[in-house]
Subunit: 430 residues, 2 copies
């Protein structure tokens, strides 16, 4: 075992249920002797041995959770969980410990535990489900969040954490045009899994769901592809399913001052345990793409406020030119219409309000009318949820709304980064 | 226009509705003057100019349709269509011509028409929806199929093609354990879109659906990822969501004799217009992954008949060793159990019957119980559908069935490859 990298060893103080609790749960207690124990299989092929697990692996530990300013990966599996009835504070803490232990491994391209998919006793169910065997880390990040209901549900403080609840962590207000499905909204906990291989993201959510067995249950989940945001200077701006570039004016990972002002909770903000964290908003936005596709190009462009080809503001320049909202054409008409999306969402029109967007396109098959069930799974990180609220309210007069329907919504507090030996959100539990 | 590559020019004899019919459909007939006509936008940024469109582009024309023996791409968008009520033979032919025209372009990394997403009149809806602007061909293949109902629906020969119906093209028989959803089964036509970028596959299906407007309508569609099949000697065998390698003993692209015997319809087979074609079976197989995950490793392996780590047959050797079905252990027990999947599906146990598998994993979110709605979207190509029927019947005693539920099914005749200037299935229309 001396050849194992640091990340293969369970961190001190972290529950090892993630390591062998699954076998216990399946009634094979006598066999579950831990990684080094008893009747292990002859085969010992782990992910790290089949592939270069270090390829595109992001550091798990740090001041902030990964998956916020990390260059946006190609694929998403987002999952919201509810704690099971009659679970208590110890269950929640052990779950967060077990998730942390597993996430520290999965993000490094390792199986969910040291015995993993094939290295445990053959008479027991494997710890790891195995579909990522042989696949590298694939840039996997796992980002955890705590929803308002974790702190208080129907007036009850189930986990003794209500005192630590951020005052700003309230269910999002209703917005014009909301048509929310409770089965695709909210949740006590969330996990944002992003990776360059969808099988790796799905494997992570599946195994973290499995680890949660008896403590938390998957409430809803969403797959996405074709990131719609740009978070580094080198990433090209991808396109949403309206065919337009999306994320041009995003906050970039190198913009430390911008991130500190708009994304990361400061040490001076309340509560103290959230310092270095952020707030995550998810909105499942169905796009009426068949209707949009019948809109003339010129009208599509005035709705967005940018050209379709280059993504340049209609006031001129290239994609990255600042929009000139005062610019008028020879007839005196505003080059960028008052009701255009880019104007209504722009920081200059919203008192400097900015958010870090990290959305993905989705297609969930089609509906009974033969129309693709498609749209944008919008994700944004902000220092205060009111930043999102302000922008979303500003968009109430957005003519693009005619082609959108918000069908899912959620808000979660994203705890700060994790130190080796600790677990996500440890500061909340004192 | 002289700079345009061959594939940008409409092939002679092919309907140009795909080129400008969309604008007509939107009531802007006066503006739709074709690629070279009238009020074109100043911008002319096409996919081919933003990216190297030739990167990983497969030849569209040839003796066989692409997407059968092509090395399996990472992503799938499969779509089944029904012809609209009151459509006739001319509608069907024009649809196939328009689809062919568009597919010849899309697979080369081009927009759906020469004016595309941003090169047409700004006063008209663009021909192309635009979300693939800037993306390369990404290995896109588009494979078309004709279902039994295209030839005869409720006893009616809607398109005057019943005489050309292959005798073997009958709706698949019911199999033990079928729990088929009509909304995820069958269809007059199908398109298998495979690409290494899901946005490119989705873009193709979306635009082909749009071209079909008024003639055919999307019946159902399915996204998939993480191909489960191996079709070349160099592709590693991917894993299904049971965590096992899937596709080890597949027919390989280089095995000309095997393909001719098992996959391609021969010139001596009936009907003549299908020579060089194949038959495509799709099965949406839901996997009870939570239940599977509680099965001990040893039992998982005896159910499959292979080891989980290497995918080696339980009779010994490496992944590619031939299973020895006669091998017994010291107690006289068969090394590969009688009811194991590998034994029941193996050619040696089925009179030499083989099929070319090309399946994908899928995850469609989760159900009300918090379980991932996941499984295998099985796709196979065979010279005669009875090959699949034989193997599927053989699997009726497969103990793996306890963990599977077949929820979707379909069979289509896949016409041979297309010559420049012709269209898919032209031979059927004489």
């Amino acid at each position: 075992m001396s050849e194992q990298p640091e990340s293969e060893r369970p961190a001190p103080g972290v529950s090892r249920r993630g390591l062998f609790g699954l076998a216990l749960g399946a009634g094979a207690a006598g066999l579950a002797l831990g990684a080094g124990g008893g009747a292990t299989a002859g085969v010992a092929v782990g992910r790290a041995r089949e592939a270069d697990a270090s390829a595109s692996a992001y550091e798990f530990y740090g001041a902030h959770q990964a998956g916020v300013v990390t260059p946006v990966q190609d694929h998403l599996h987002f999952a919201a969980f509810d704690m099971m009835p009659r679970t208590n504070r110890d269950d929640l803490v052990s779950l967060l410990q077990d998730w942390t232990y597993a996430a520290a491994r999965l993000t490094q391209g390792l199986d969910v535990s040291a015995s993993g998919a094939v290295g445990g006793p053959v008479q027991a169910p494997p710890d790891d489900t195995g579909e990522a065997l042989g696949l590298p880390a694939s840039g996997l990040t796992l980002t955890f969040g705590f929803g308002p209901t974790l702190f208080e549900l129907d007036g009850e403080d189930r986990f003794g954490i209500a005192a630590g609840r951020p005052a700003v962590l309230e269910r999002l207000p209703a917005f014009l045009g909301d048509d929310l499905d409770p089965a695709a909204s909210n949740g006590d906990l969330c996990i944002q899994a992003c990776a360059d291989d969808p099988q790796v993201a799905v494997h992570a959510v599946r195994n973290l769901s499995r680890i949660a067995f008896g403590r938390a249950r998957l409430r809803w989940s969403q797959l996405g592809f074709g990131r719609t945001s740009r978070t580094t200077t080198t990433q090209a701006t991808p396109r949403n399913l309206f065919g337009f570039k999306d994320g041009t004016a995003n906050i970039l990972a190198g913009d430390r001052a911008g991130l500190d002002e708009h994304v990361w909770v400061a040490a001076s903000d309340d509560p103290a345990w959230m310092a270095g964290g952020s707030y995550l908003v998810a909105r499942k936005i169905a796009m009426m793409i068949e209707t949009w596709d019948r809109v003339p190009l010129s009208e599509q462009q005035t709705i967005v406020g940018r050209t379709k080809a280059e993504g340049a503001p209609l006031s001129g320049g290239d994609e990255f030119a600042a929009p000139d909202f005062a610019a008028v054409d020879t007839a005196g008409t505003k080059a960028i219409p008052e009701t255009s999306h880019v104007r209504l969402a722009h920081p200059d029109q919203n008192g400097g309000t900015r958010i870090l967007r990290r959305g993905y396109n989705f297609v969930d098959g089609n509906n009974d009318l033969g129309r693709l069930d498609a749209g944008l799974f919008f994700l944004s990180f902000q220092r205060d949820p009111q930043q999102f609220v302000r922008l979303q309210r500003s968009l109430s007069s957005d003519v693009m709304n005619e082609y959108l329907r918000h069908v899912g919504s959620g808000l979660w507090a994203v705890p700060p980064g994790i130190a080796p030996g600790s677990f996500v959100g440890a500061g909340l539990f004192g």
